[in-house]
Symmetry: D2
Subunit: 335 residues, 4 copies
């Protein structure tokens, strides 16, 4: 049984306390938050948990083996670093940090101290994304041609970052999970409309080489909520619609037929074929429960997390490059 502290009891913290409490291999002994009102709320809902306002108090207790950090993004680096230095395993909310060098430092520190560093890329543990990964890995889609991701809605959920840092980590971590590598370059554009400098609409275009481009639309001003990703392949294509209550993943047995004749190809004499559509059954298991179990498993058996520091670092590198491209008004940035 791994004893844990959850740091930050705002929007996401209660979910962490609940899931790590219900997990067979972990228990939450401490909740840490500077806000006493929040601690009172935590205590009321989880009477067996102790509330502390001082993070040092968490670090001082040897019984606490692991720390889950759900505080504002700008504090991630400092808190995670100090926890790793104190010999605690660490789970951090996405994105891992706000700076690439900070993320690199955390990854190196975890490695040096033999500790698990994991990022809460929650979608990577969700049933539809696991099904996508299974389908992509099976080769059923053929060669990947393009990925088109749309995550738009009205309103924002983070208060210290722009729409790219708030929403894109979800989709970037999904694509990172599917492909397991950095793009070679990207370009991004964005707009700020609320009278401040914080972008609320943005488009990211990632070039993964070998013909594969991935585009991301993130938006806080959309009148409708869309959560959709198209993965287009040479043999089949897939659509992941997270808003569909019953058919979140659909595989389309459709595509273009490339002629053998180079002359015809030059003339774009391409035909296409239509085929069946298949929507696999998707479990409704809770992603955070699976993440909690995986975190415990990595700690106990020295495994490398699916969403470890390395993937967290790749996402931060992409976010950082996107930010620079937006400031350069869409210029291409190499990664």
């Amino acid at each position: 049984m791994i004893e844990m502290a959850v740091v930050g009891y705002g929007y996401w913290g209660p979910n962490l306390v609940r899931n790590f409490s219900e997990c067979d291999d972990t228990r939450v002994s401490v909740v840490c938050d500077a806000d006493a009102t929040r601690l009172a709320r935590a205590r009321k809902r989880f009477p067996s948990v102790e509330g502390v306002t001082d993070f040092d108090e968490v670090l001082r207790r040897p019984a606490i083996q692991a720390v889950a950090i759900a505080t504002p993004v700008r504090t991630h680096y400092e808190l995670a670093r100090r926890a790793l230095e104190a010999g605690k395993h660490v789970l951090v909310e996405k994105p891992l940090t706000m700076r690439v060098d900070h993320a690199e430092e955390l990854v190196a520190l975890a490695k040096k101290n033999g500790l698990v560093l994991m990022v809460d890329h929650i979608f990577v543990y969700s049933p539809p994304v696991l099904k996508m990964k299974e389908i992509v890995d099976s080769g059923k889609l053929g060669k990947l041609f393009f990925i088109d991701s749309v995550r738009i809605n009205l309103g924002l959920f983070q208060h210290d970052v722009n729409v790219v840092w708030d929403l894109a980590p979800h989709d970037l971590s999904i694509v990172d999970f599917l492909l397991g590598k950095l793009p070679r370059a990207l370009s991004a554009v964005g707009g700020a409309h609320a009278g401040n400098e914080i972008e609320d609409v943005a488009y990211l275009n990632l070039d993964y080489g070998d013909g594969l481009i991935a585009n991301f639309h993130v938006n806080w001003l959309s009148p409708v909520k869309v959560r959709q990703m198209i993965v287009g392949g040479s043999d089949r294509s897939l659509i992941y619609n997270d808003m569909d209550p019953s058919e979140k993943i659909k595989v389309y047995d459709r595509g273009i037929n490339l002629g053998e004749d180079p002359e015809k190809r030059r003339q774009v004499l391409i035909s296409y074929r239509s085929g069946d559509v298949w929507a696999p059954n998707i479990s409704n298991a809770e992603p955070l429960a699976r993440l909690a179990a995986h975190f415990a498993d990595c700690i106990t058996h020295g495994k490398t997390p699916v969403s470890g520091g390395e993937s967290g670092l790749r996402i931060v590198k992409i976010l950082d490059a996107a930010q620079r491209s937006i400031k350069a008004q869409g210029g291409r940035v190499m990664l």
Copy 2:
């Protein structure tokens, strides 16, 4: 009654012959196509029409006042130029030409000779787009923040151009109709997957200044057909879904509330409000019939067409800039 010739009897030509035949103010006396089989087909369907294979034959006849050109894009400039030189009014399929200087020459020539030059930006005459224009002009949406356009499907319809020149003119002409001006800059990326150099997936991002960005996704490889445009404004937003059989335009009385306090704005303390949705009734009048009547009206009364050479030129400028940006891998191009 304006006597006309239709040049090119492929995919679109029959629709032009039918609509200009049914229009009260025009009649089609000649169909011109180099392919005798096509002429036979035209003659069978429209027995009163004469078929000629030689374009000069069309130009030589003084009775023919106007020419509608529905040939491959690469031939538009030559045919339109010669028709204007011969004193004929001209309607050209979209896009107007493949080169900016060619489009400029046609615009200047039409002006010099006092002739109507019109581009077949068909959507500009469609009931849902006219409704959009009415709503945008009414100021109901407030200040425009972003436009997001998606036109994707499986398969291609043009054989001598890429997906940008094939599909984007539709959406660019709609946005040109709404805004009536060129963007100040754009960036674009694209990918070619069919073993040739012709892009089949592309994204265009247009910067209209004053915070307004317009993004266009065009794609020949999508397993599903989407034809959608979101127009996001400060007061309300609008979605045009051309695939919806009954509610093509929806106006959402939703948005963000900007605080008066600059300090709060800096902290992104934005609230948002939810409101009613309204789908105005949209007529199902045929756009091409309206275009035909408008072409005749412009000729008869010396009016400037809604989709005249000037707007055709703006679209060609955008397409040309997009092509250059794609070749430069997403670099920003000024317009």
Copy 3:
């Protein structure tokens, strides 16, 4: 080549002329309609066709082997009877007749004279319904439990019958095609709201025995257009949505698990399982072209039509019983 006459050139007649003209094995030499304006329209569109106002003229010509009747329902019996007596094969619009005895007489007459009598149950020749039939016959659905059919929209298309006689023949002929038998009983209710005695909303409930019930909702007052049929089975279920542009048939691998234990069954301790959804690719062949070819094939090779007089008679029996049940305010009528 079978020479044909098409009788009635209103809403559906032009489709019959076009399809029997394009069919390799038939040609239309005569169109018969009492209305000279309609004949002029037919002649303009189909210059090779002769127009006659007198039905006797059609009957007198020995060269005419077959007659397609697309006149108001109340005239079907008289025209079909006289054509069969004159030795012509007959295709009749749905429903076959307005009275059961009339339908029986036509079936007997066709049999006696060795002629083909076919009803234009057009959906039976449509690709999605053929796919349904294939799936039902394959046994994939298991034992059929229920059929729920909804065909509702705003407005009416027939002027001499109520909504039951207008819309229900489509769905009844589909179910007749799937099951090939009469229900043992039915009950029906309806309402008339337009200030006349003609029902514009109705529900039919057919009892096919062995636990299978089929319900039909037909409605001319619905603000939305729905064309949907659910076929629920013990192993899988199927939904046919004719309004879906791309996935008209969906097979759901879902159902209830019946316990073996009778005690548990009595207590309704039923679990259910969720599974994949599969949307087979559906061709977009034109149903009427297939019907025309089948009619010709039946005439040439003495085959029994899929939608022959017998199935037309079964549909009339159901419609007649439904009408009697409605007048009896929902009473059960045996068939």
Copy 4:
């Protein structure tokens, strides 16, 4: 502050405890359930609540003013009667009882003892249904022509009753709320497929007189979940789709135009008009919180509940008549 006991801590009980605990005017002091495991669960989640296994214990306590009963349907009558006899106000899960005479007795008893008797017709307190009521009462729809209700899904939620008694009370209570009266007659049919006598598919047709018919489809075997009600009127129609996350209520400004001329009416020469669609903004307030506050308000101020015993009795009368009609295979039953 009204002190309450919640009786039955199965599927719905926890929601009652939570909402009556959070309500400003009520508090839950006791949870009663024969199952000790359930009581332990209740105590864990609501530490301030006492658990008792004996219902008499609840009745004996004078401090307990009101009882909420969420036990199996067959026990409602006995428990509610004893609570009313003991001078407690009573809230009962739907349906009120399994027999009409039992419901009548409870209504009379509550009246005699001056107590509030309320049925948990939860939908009557939900924002979309309140909006429906507002629209119907405003007269915007004109004269009501038909109501078509569909509530179908896979699986069942009640273990001692059939699909009619399980699902139909929701829709019947909504229609009762809209119309406030009993139908004059009904007919119903159903089928049982799970090897027991318990219907899992059923259709109810209610005749409200004056041309208004209301049809209800309830089904435990449907592969898809549908929760939809169409209310068709002479001027406008309304669709309530409870599965739509953002546009639960849509008002369609469409209908038929009745001619003035009786001759034309007889000939069904009806035209129809198409118009705008409007989806009012719907709050997402929790219905059960509103119900709890209303229950307290009725007790405190002697008000008559919106979903009082009278409406509960009307629903039981309809359910009872439907059951008799099903056993009579669809025969018409007067109410």
